[in-house]
């Protein structure tokens, strides 16, 4: 049976029956947005529909756009097609988008992780006929350690640096990773300072999910008095001149890519912590099995390899090219 409820077009994932797009990459009239990351919620659509937690974040990023907010599991219909948002566990407000029409069910995963990080609303598996999945980390080299272990490693690193009078600079994506870190890290040896971009995101995210208060990094702070600090900064601030003021310092990144030595070395961090907001290979496979889908469409990541793997396990899978992967990717910013 050929299923055509959703299709891949030049503008994005399209539902012809309802005339709406999911995470479109070109301006359209009506867009359902899985989450507030830049490659999924783009500028220029006439109407946005997103989960209520995503709404203030998208507004913060894109300014005065028109957004209709939905609750988890709230069913709404457009031209007879039913839609609903379900937690994807990736970042605050991140959703899988379920599309139902005449007994046929599709789910678009957006970005997701099945691991409960204690801050983000945890992933809820949805049964469906067709599952469009990301597979950013879809090779078996990737398996995440428990986050308790990773947070202990970070605290330990911070403590060792502080004892030597060295500032700790930790890079993590400003939306998602930064909130997860600022929620869990404990100020045991010194203050946690937030880069202004992260501070602003924490304010916005904090309005829907309370976050502990941390000091903002600004020009007036005296580095000499704050040598025991840990500065949380976005990865694209790595080469910024503000860092010079904080010498001596050590850098680290919190990212799934830090699982391989090559990636750590290439990015030039002193240390890497394996912490991801995407599912690892094993989580992907479990999540997909739980959907009981008869067709899986892989986007976003190691699509060819992962689809071949699913087929070898008797799960029918194909790939679809999306600009999520067709753009040269140079920082985690772009793929998150």
């Amino acid at each position: 049976m050929k299923r055509t409820l959703l299709e891949f077009t030049d503008s994005g994932i399209y539902c012809p029956k309802a005339d709406v797009y999911l995470d479109p990459w070109k301006p359209v009239s009506k867009a359902l947005i899985s989450h507030a990351h830049a490659d999924h919620s783009r500028w220029g659509h006439q109407h946005y529909i997103s989960h209520e937690y995503s709404t203030p974040i998208i507004k913060h990023r894109l300014g005065g756009v028109e957004i209709a907010s939905k609750k988890w599991g709230e069913r709404f219909s457009i031209q007879g097609v039913h839609f609903s948002f379900h937690p994807a566990g990736h970042i605050v407000g991140s959703s899988q988008i379920k599309v139902e029409y005449k007994g046929e069910t599709w789910v678009f995963s957006g970005d997701y992780k099945t691991y409960d990080d204690g801050f983000t609303t945890p992933f809820e598996p949805q049964k469906c006929d067709v599952f469009i999945t990301e597979c950013t980390f879809g090779i078996p080299a990737f398996k995440w350690p428990s986050q308790e272990l990773v947070f202990d490693q970070i605290q330990q690193w911070w403590k060792e640096n502080a004892e030597k009078g060295i500032t700790s600079v930790l890079f993590g994506y400003s939306l998602g990773k930064a909130q997860r870190l600022s929620f869990h890290l404990r100020e045991e040896v010194g203050p946690l300072l937030l880069h202004p971009v992260i501070h602003a995101h924490n304010e916005v995210v904090g309005s829907v999910k309370p976050l502990p208060h941390h000091q903002k990094l600004d020009k007036n702070l005296d580095p000499k008095k704050l040598k025991t600090a840990l500065i949380l900064a976005p990865p694209n601030a790595q080469d910024a001149s503000w860092l010079k003021k904080w010498m001596p310092y050590k850098t680290a990144a919190a990212s799934g890519w830090m699982a391989t030595r090559g990636a750590r070395r290439r990015r030039g961090y002193d240390t890497g912590f394996v912490l991801s907001d995407h599912a690892d290979f094993y989580e992907l496979t479990n999540a997909i099995k739980a959907t009981e889908a008869q067709h899986v469409i892989c986007t976003h990541g190691y699509t060819d390899i992962y689809a071949r793997f699913l087929n070898s396990k008797g799960i029918y899978a194909t790939t679809a090219d999306t600009p999520f992967e067709d753009e040269p990717v140079t920082t985690e910013e772009r793929t998150s």
Binding site: K143, W257, T260, G262, R264, G268, F281, Y282, P328, V329
Partner: protein
């Protein structure tokens, strides 16, 4: 094994020499003497024998991780390091505790493993992988796959040993030379015993030539200069003192054991002396390509066959010490006059010099560079002294321009790790007529770099739209794009489809003005080879 694995992790986490030395010294401070000997052995290139080939390791790891061989290979391609891939996969299949087995007993076992049969090998390797954590598995698997340097040169290792033992690094470098077996030697014998000869082995810091960017005439009066060809080998100092020869590379590593023929030169040298010159692959009459010399590098054991196939000479161009007298503050002219009285033949040759009368003569000599297999010219001021490091004024080098050819992009391969969604490795072809008289593209070189970010992005977009076939990480593309490829040298090669091997091929520019038909042919490439 656990402390060794931790050492590997900390060496891996820093690029700073001082921190690497610190980590290694801290290890030397606490490890057992037996383990220390093994670490010194590993970091000076004395690996245990390769007991198991990598094909079997891959098979066994895939089996233990319960993944199909193709998925193992794809993952390996992305991770980029075999030992790391195996450690990740076997660990991900079932996480375990860190190893408490002493390093020395593992390495001793590996020495005996080579002669055991495959079933025994397999059960030993699998049981290690099953019982130990990621880091231990990584270190353990590296013993089979090699490449254990982790940015630790022998020099750095001896520095760390100096920090830990208080024995000067130069003395240690001497002690660690030559043949010794980590299974039988003790730490006391290897490191702590007294040696007086260390001082005797020391080289001088090298004087380096400055690249000449202006025209020759800018150097003034031509008769103030001597010229030599710039040989395409390895810069080295030959130290002969106390009846022994020590050969130092520019990285200040002792390389005696790699070049036994140079070690044997002592009979040919009149008195104690230090020569500055070039290690060069060389047959009876003329230099061989750098590729020939490469065959001789990084080897623990140099076989008779290798010695005969790729003979190496020391081509001297300066004399830094004579009869224990430091000559570096004398003029080049004075040093050179003395040097030329040496007996040059066999493995010890003189780098001939020319005293030019006119700059045109210098230009003409540079034209001959590829004919005599040199990289260009060295210009040395007659009244210059031998300084330390790269200084302007005394020595200049003038390299010949690279050769270039226009080739067609034929295949593209994904990069590793973060760049694995990008096509970063390109294969290029040149035209050749096949037996039926039809022109086809023959692979002649692979190149990685040379494009701007913008061009790189555009080429990547183009590749995705113009793929004709996929082979794992490789895409075959429509033969349409033309690039100008530069390379430093070319030689005949039976191993290459085109019949020629090029040295340092790189993309010079994207010839958007040319169609594939206008690209060069294999016979154009042939015309660049000088016999």
């Amino acid at each position: 094994m656990n402390t060794f694995a931790q050492l590997i992790a900390s060496l891996d986490q820093t690029t700073k020499t001082s921190e690497k030395i610190g980590a290694l010294a801290a290890y030397f401070d606490t490890a057992t003497n037996q383990d220390k000997v093994w670490v010194i052995a590993l970091l000076s290139g004395r690996r245990p024998p390769r007991a198991i080939n990598t094909r079997l390791l891959r098979e066994w790891a895939a089996e233990l991780a319960q993944i199909e061989p193709w998925l193992f290979e794809e993952t390996y391609h992305i991770v980029g390091d075999l030992a790391e891939t195996i450690a990740l996969l076997v660990h991900n299949a079932q996480p375990k505790k860190s190893s408490t087995t002493p390093l020395c007993s593992i390495l001793n076992r590996l020495h005996s493993l080579k002669t055991e049969d495959e079933t025994e090998k397999k059960s030993y390797v699998l049981s290690f992988w099953k019982q130990n954590d990621y880091l231990s598995c990584f270190a353990f698997t590296k013993f089979f796959t090699g490449g254990f340097r982790l940015g630790v040169s022998q020099r750095l290792m001896t520095k760390a040993l100096e920090k830990s033992t208080g024995i000067p690094a130069d003395e240690l470098a001497m002690k660690l030379m030559g043949d010794w077996d980590p299974r039988t030697i003790s730490f006391d014998e290897l490191v702590l015993s007294k040696v007086d000869a260390a001082q005797e082995a020391k080289p001088y810091p090298f004087f380096l030539a400055y690249p000449l960017e202006e025209a020759f005439d800018a150097l003034g009066e031509v008769t103030q200069w001597a010229i030599e060809h710039k040989w395409d080998g390895i810069r080295a100092q030959l130290v002969y003192r106390g009846g022994a020869v020590y050969l130092w590379s520019r990285g200040e590593e002792l390389v005696n054991h790699q070049f036994p023929e140079i070690e044997a030169l002592q009979d040919q040298l009149p008195v104690s002396c230090v020569l500055d010159g070039e290690l060069l692959a060389h047959d009876k009459n003329r230099p061989l390509s750098f590729g020939a010399l490469q065959k001789r590098l990084g080897r623990k054991n140099v076989s008779e066959k290798l010695l005969a196939e790729y003979p190496v000479v020391f081509k001297a161009y300066d004399l830094l010490e004579y009869d224990l007298k430091d000559l570096r503050s004398q003029t080049y002219e004075a040093r050179r006059t003395l040097l030329e009285r040496f007996n040059f033949n066999g493995k010890l040759l003189l780098s001939e010099r020319i005293m030019p009368q006119h700059w045109n003569q210098v230009r003409a000599e540079k034209e001959r560079a590829s004919e005599v297999r040199s990289e260009g010219l060295m210009l040395k001021r007659l009244d210059s002294i031998y300084q330390v490091g790269r200084k302007k004024g005394g020595w200049y080098k003038s390299k010949v321009d690279p050769m270039t050819i226009d080739a067609v992009l034929t295949f593209a391969m994904r990069g590793h790790g973060r760049r694995s969604n990008l096509y970063t490795d390109f294969t290029f072809g040149l035209w050749r007529e096949n037996e039926e008289g039809i022109a086809e593209l023959v692979t002649f070189a692979k190149a990685y770099s040379g494009l701007t970010d913008k061009e790189f992005a555009a080429v990547n977009q183009w590749i995705k739209k113009n793929t004709v076939a996929r082979f794992g990480p490789v895409r075959q593309v429509n033969p349409e794009l033309v690039f100008e490829i530069a390379f430093e040298g070319i030689s005949k090669s039976g191993r290459h489809k085109s019949g020629y091997a090029t040295r340092f091929p790189r993309i010079l520019r994207w010839r958007t003005d040319k169609s594939a038909k206008e690209a060069n042919s294999i016979s154009d490439l042939e015309s660049l080879v000088i016999e």
